[in-house]
């Protein structure tokens, strides 16, 4: 269900699952766009030489996945605040699963609070966080 006003939101509702593109090529596009061009984001071999198990997805790209999931769920919502904790590295070419749940609703001010996670296919949390989203009152 697409959310258009604060009254469309239900406490405890889960956002539709969002599976982002974590391919090495796409990670490279993001890393170049934000000015992070190190080997760890460009190739698995380069990342291994730096001591990582493979090429990394930048932590802030994980934040980008989370806000994209919010925008797909609530196309008119404005993410006022988003806070992410980078618990463990996300690896390129490894599927990531974004999930989020509504943890609070303020119908007077049109504010929704969300808890969000980025997990791998082993159900291990890579990034988690919260977001405060402003929605129209009507």
């Amino acid at each position: 269900m697409s959310i258009t006003t604060i009254h469309d939101v239900e406490f405890g509702a889960e956002l539709p699952v969002f599976e982002p593109d974590t391919s090495l090529a796409n990670v490279g596009v993001f890393a170049r766009a934000v000015g992070w061009g190190g080997p760890r984001f460009k190739s698995h071999e380069g990342a291994r030489k730096e001591g990582f198990p493979g090429a990394l997805v930048p932590g802030i790209m994980g934040m980008g996945f989370l806000t994209s999931a919010i925008h797909q769920w609530a196309p008119v919502g404005q993410v006022e605040h988003v806070d992410t904790v980078f618990r463990a590295p996300m690896l390129a070419d490894t599927p990531a699963i974004i999930s989020a749940v509504v943890t609070d609703i303020d119908e007077d001010d049109g504010i929704v609070e969300l808890d969000m996670t980025v997990k791998n296919t082993k159900d291990e949390t890579r990034v988690f966080g919260t977001a405060r989203v402003k929605l129209p009152l009507s």
Partner: protein, 147 residues
């Protein structure tokens, strides 16, 4: 063991970095699209409110992470996470000013020792000194027992 109260007294809320910059539209679109973003305000320069995504704003905070005279805490600072608070759209092609200060210093103690958390707040302003956004970078340092 590092005295956090002393660190707070010396470093908190004192600006240690400042720079001017302009965001490039192509980079904003590339980063947004790669993140799975499809809303026009983030991927279409023709949109009246074309702007940077919160994740892109986090990249602005990179650069000098700590004041030059900040003491070594014994370990290498790790990127523990980032937060963005937005007050107004951050647009491409307009002059921006970035200012950084240490916003918070705290610790957590566990079985493996003490972890020190340092929150660097980067504030983003436009040329009219309107406050557009705050970006908080959380650095985590595992203190060495003898430091």
């Amino acid at each position: 063991m590092v005295d956090l109260e002393e660190l707070k007294g010396k470093f908190l809320n004192t600006e240690f970095a400042s720079r001017d910059l302009q965001l490039e539209a192509d980079n904003l679109i590339a980063a947004a699209t790669a993140s799975g973003e499809s809303r026009p305000e983030f991927v279409d320069t023709a949109h009246e409110s074309f702007q940077a995504t919160p994740a892109y704003l986090c990249s602005i905070s990179s650069g000098r992470h700590l004041p030059v005279d900040f003491p070594s805490l014994g370990g290498i600072p790790m990127d523990g996470g980032k937060a963005v608070e937005r007050f107004a759209p951050v647009k491409a092609g307009v002059p921006l000013t970035v200012k950084a200060h240490l916003h918070e210093i705290y610790d957590k103690k566990g079985r493996s020792g003490r972890m020190i958390f340092i929150v660097v707040r980067t504030e983003l302003f436009d040329e009219d000194i309107a406050h557009l956004a705050n970006i908080d970078s959380r650095l985590v340092v595992r203190e060495k027992p003898d430091s």
